[in-house]
Every structure is written in C-alpha cells, then in structure tokens.
C-alpha cells in the first residue's frame, strides 16, 4: 500500500516536472505578448507596487540618513577646508589689490614729480613704534645708493629721514619721533615759518612750536617743509593744523598738526635720492 502511494507520488512529481519543464521550454524564447493570466496578475500587482515603492522610498530616505551621514560629514570637512583656503586666497587677492592701488598712487606721484625729485621705491621690512621712538627699516641700503639724511616720503607727504644705513637696509626716523624736527611753513601764506616736531605723546600727531602769538596761523592750514633746515627740501607736504594753543605767558603759541601720512599704514615709501645725503 505504502509502496503504491510512493510510486503514485513519484509518477505525479515526474509528470509535473515534465509538464512544467515543457512549459518553461516553450517560454524560453522571447514572447511578443504575455498570457492573460500573466497580464492579470501584473495588473493586479501594480497598485501594490506603486504603494510599496512609496514605502520603499521613505525607508531608503530613512536609512540614507545614517548611511550618508558620514559621507556628508566628510564632505562638510572638505568644504570647510576649501572655504578656508578660498578665504585665504581672497585675503591675498585683497592684499595684492591694495598693494596695486598703493603702487599706482606712488607711480603717479613719481611721474608727477619727475625732474623735481629722484625717487627710489623702498619697502618696509620692520617697524619700531613705541612712546620713545618711531622708526621703520627699509629694504634699501648703501648698495642701492641710500645715504643718511635722505628724505623719505610718499605721495601723501613727508615721512621722515634716513638715520642709519646698512648695505641692504636703512633706518628711518619718522616725523612723530620725539627727536624729529623739521623746518616748516604755512603753505597758503608762505610767510609763517616754524619748527614741526614729534609731540612725544606716542600719537602720530606733530606740533609746530614757537609760533609768535600774532602769527597768521589758523586751524585747517596746510604745512609744507620750508627747506631752511638744510635737511629736507622745501615744499613737501607735512600735515594740517587741527588746533592751536597759546603758551602760558601768551607770547607764543603751539599748533597741533595732523600729518597727511598715515604712519600706522605705511607699506611702501620713496627715498628722495637727491636730498641731503650724508655718509653711507
């Protein structure tokens, strides 16, 4: 009995295999049309496929949060580095742009004063601005023809004079230095002369001292070098009077002068090569 059932099952299995195998062989070749059953099942499954696809996208989005988080963090780091680099480049570009403006102004000034001044462009390689002294070091020295006593200026006005010269560098005493003194005159009248010196307060302002109490000096007047001190050539702009004070005995008055040159923003300067050069 058991053997009969087993044989019957075996035959049924073999028959099914033969049937489905022949069915499969008939469908091996590409078919132009699906059967009605296939079409019906696929049509019936399509709404579910759309629904599940929506779920799938949500699930993928959920897991993508975790899988993409690391990649996003790395990308974020890379972008930060890139931003930092670009910022650095932008600063450099700004520096170059500002340098370009300064150099153009200096070049224009050099062109305007051609024949009058023999100007040598110099860069600043060090600064020493304290209450006691205001000096800068230039990248031009005796090898470039620089001598002590030469005038240093830029397109805005007088800066100072060379006080020490090395082969490849030189030191400039700036106008605000307490040891600095310049013969000056009021540009508009060209009559009043005096001495302009550093006020020794640590600021960049200057003072014009020993002015007679009745001198025609007013706030807003411009000062230029007088040329009478034998150090600086005449006619170089110094600054503008911003206040005037009478001395205690009332016989003299002192003017506070704001220099035209911004001493805290110096980048490049001119050395006036045909000015009071002394020893190298």
């Amino acid at each position: 009995m058991f053997k009969k059932t087993w044989i019957r099952n075996l035959l049924a299995v073999v028959a099914l295999i033969v049937v489905f195998l022949s069915l499969a062989m008939n469908t091996v070749q590409p078919r132009e049309n699906l059967t009605i059953v296939e079409k019906g099942l696929r049509i019936a499954s399509s709404p579910f496929q759309y629904g599940f696809r929506a779920i799938n996208e949500s699930v993928n989005g959920f897991f993508a949060y975790f899988t993409e988080k690391e990649a996003l963090q790395q990308e974020n780091e890379a972008l930060k580095q890139q931003l930092s680099q670009l910022n650095s480049e932008l600063v450099q570009m700004d520096e170059i742009s500002m340098e370009n403006v300064r150099l153009r102004e200096l070049l224009n000034y050099k062109e305007e004063t051609r024949g009058q001044y023999n100007l040598q462009l110099a860069g600043i390689i060090a600064e020493n601005n304290t209450n006691l002294q205001h000096t800068i070091t230039l990248d031009k020295g005796s090898n470039d023809g620089v001598r002590t006593g030469m005038t240093v200026m830029n397109h805005s006005g007088l800066i100072g004079r060379i006080t020490a010269v090395m082969p490849d560098s030189s030191e400039v005493m700036l106008l605000p230095d307490r040891e600095s003194a310049i013969g000056a005159r009021v540009w508009s009248t060209r009559e009043v002369v005096g001495v302009v010196e550093g006020d020794g307060s640590g600021s960049s302002n200057l003072k014009m001292i020993h002015l007679p109490h009745d001198a025609d000096v007013y706030v807003g007047d411009s000062l230029v070098t007088s040329g009478l001190d034998g150090v600086f050539p005449g006619g170089i702009q110094i600054g503008e009077i911003i206040s005037i004070e009478y001395s205690g005995n009332g016989l003299t008055k002192t003017a506070t002068v704001k220099p035209y040159v911004s001493f805290n923003r110096l980048e490049e300067v001119f050395v006036l090569m045909n000015s009071g050069g002394g020893t190298a």
């Binding site: 091996v28 499954s45 699930v59």
Partner: protein, 160 residues
C-alpha cells in the same frame, strides 16, 4: 480559506520582494517569502500538500515575475515535497530546526533552479547561483521565525 490567504500573502510577498526589499537588499540578497511559506506549510501538512502548494505558489511567482514559466513551479514544488518528509520527524516546538530547514531549502532551491535552467538552455553558473544565495539564505533565516510562529499558530494551536 487558508489556501486563499496563503495565495494573497504569497502575492504580497512577491511584490514586497521586488519593491521594498529591492531597496533593503544586502549584498544583493532578498528574502524569498514564497519559499519560507512552502517549507513551513510542508512541515505542518506533509509532502503531498507541501508539494502541491509549492507548485502552485511557484507557478504564481513565475506568472507574476518569471521569464521561464514553470521553473519556480518545479523548484518550489520539489522543495515543498522534500520538506514535507520532515512532517512526522520534526519536533515542531523547536524553532531552530525550521530555521535550518529554510537555510537548506534556500540552497536546495538554488541548485534545483540551476539544474532546470541548464536543462532549458539557461546560462547560469552553479557557483554564482550558490554564492548569490548566501545573502538570500541569511535574509530568509531572519524572517523565518516570524513565519514559523504564524504557521505554528494556524496549524498547531488552532487545531488543538
């Protein structure tokens, strides 16, 4: 009624496998819900019914997604028939053995699919087939406790 439910679940299982689990496939592996159902149905109902359900659900799979109509019907039918032999011998309260049965069935199904594909002129490598069925097998084993619990409830608890 149970057969209708089984067909509906198999229908949804096939759609799920090709939609949701496409996005959740691990190393190209996807769960084969039809196979799990056939194995567990056979474990509770024996070789003949297991074989018949396997053939029917395999045919459904072929008709819904298959290119060669009949291959899945043969493979799932034979798997169901073979799994049904464990009906009397298997200790059904132990959940680990059915999991092992699903694991074996996954590889068995791969071998059968390879054999019948070759017979009809298919171009599938056995090693490729077996290798690619490893993630399938792991996926199937992960889902098998849930299916087994449901089948156990339907065929053991409900019949008490």
């Amino acid at each position: 009624m149970r057969v209708v439910v089984l067909f509906l679940v198999a229908f949804l299982g096939i759609v799920l496998r090709d939609t949701v689990f496409n996005g959740l496939s691990v190393a190209g592996g996807k769960p084969d819900f039809v196979l799990i159902m056939v194995v567990y149905f056979a474990i509770f109902r024996g070789s003949v019914q297991g074989g018949l359900l396997g053939t029917a659900l395999g045919l459904l799979e072929d008709l819904m997604t298959g290119r060669f109509i009949g291959i899945n019907a043969i493979c799932k039918g034979l798997i169901g028939y073979a799994a049904g032999y464990s009906e009397r011998n298997l200790h059904k309260n132990n959940f680990t053995v059915p999991m092992a049965a699903v694991l074996a069935a996954t590889f068995g199904n791969a071998v059968l699919y390879f054999m019948f594909s070759v017979l009809i002129g298919g171009n599938v490598g056995l090693s490729t087939m077996l290798f690619s069925s490893i993630p399938d097998a792991i996926y199937n084993m992960c889902f098998s406790p849930v299916f087994y619990a449901v089948f156990y409830h339907f065929f053991m608890v409900s019949n008490d």
